[in-house]
Symmetry: C2
Subunit: 138 residues, 2 copies
């Protein structure tokens, strides 16, 4: 097994951030590692009855700021988290099952980059979301 354990990766991330390695943070991270697709903070919270609500939210924020997680807002305004696979990407959001998927599109990036030059002020970043009915729901 060449695979580093989840705990090892979390430990090194946390120390890189200058944050302490604690039990609750590991428990949140382990649960995240077992997830795929998108999930709500509240769902995680319910799956971790022995970790305080505030700590779940704090850890989610910590990991989002660190770029490990990605926070998206569904069209109705409800927030979803997903693992950030660490390249710049955008989201396909299924209006039916509310699943969030990543996608990348180089032509789109290029165009957005070109557009930035035309826009007054300084462009800091962008977000693109496509609302779809996914194959599974069709």
């Amino acid at each position: 097994m060449m695979t580093t354990s989840v705990d090892d990766r979390v430990d090194s991330l946390l120390s890189k951030l200058g944050s302490r390695i604690t039990g609750p943070r590991r428990r949140v991270a382990r649960l995240l590692a077992s997830k795929q697709g998108s999930f709500s903070a509240e769902a995680l919270n319910e799956e971790l009855p022995d970790v305080g609500r505030a700590t779940v939210y704090r850890t989610l924020k910590l990991l989002s700021d660190a770029g490990v997680l990605c926070k998206t807002t569904l069209p109705d305004g409800s927030p979803r988290y997903s693992i950030d696979h660490s390249w710049h990407h955008h989201h396909l959001i299924c209006s039916s099952c509310r699943t969030v998927e990543e996608f990348r599109h180089s032509a789109l990036e290029r165009l957005l980059c070109e557009m930035s030059a035309e826009i007054p002020g300084q462009v800091l970043g962008h977000r693109v979301e496509l609302y779809v009915t996914c194959m599974h729901c069709l």
Copy 2:
């Protein structure tokens, strides 16, 4: 003056929608007409102490559904409303002053339309947001 009064326009919109023309709805609409840029529902509510909270939110929803208003979510998740100038558009959001501005870009639309063909599932719509520091804040 060729200008139709706000009340007249609101009246005709409401009857087109099959909704009743009421005092509270007029008061909300008048305030909206005096606004420029983006605003939060709560701010409107505070400026209309004689209109019930529920009614403010209901009217905002009514007008959003009717396409008169446009609801956006700032990166931090807080919602903003703005007058929808009634063509498909996207948003420039100033990260500093949180102002929301509309923009249109035909090449971007064309590309997004082309992309829809490549994407598995059925594309229903899209949203593009550019985060900027606006001229005013620079």
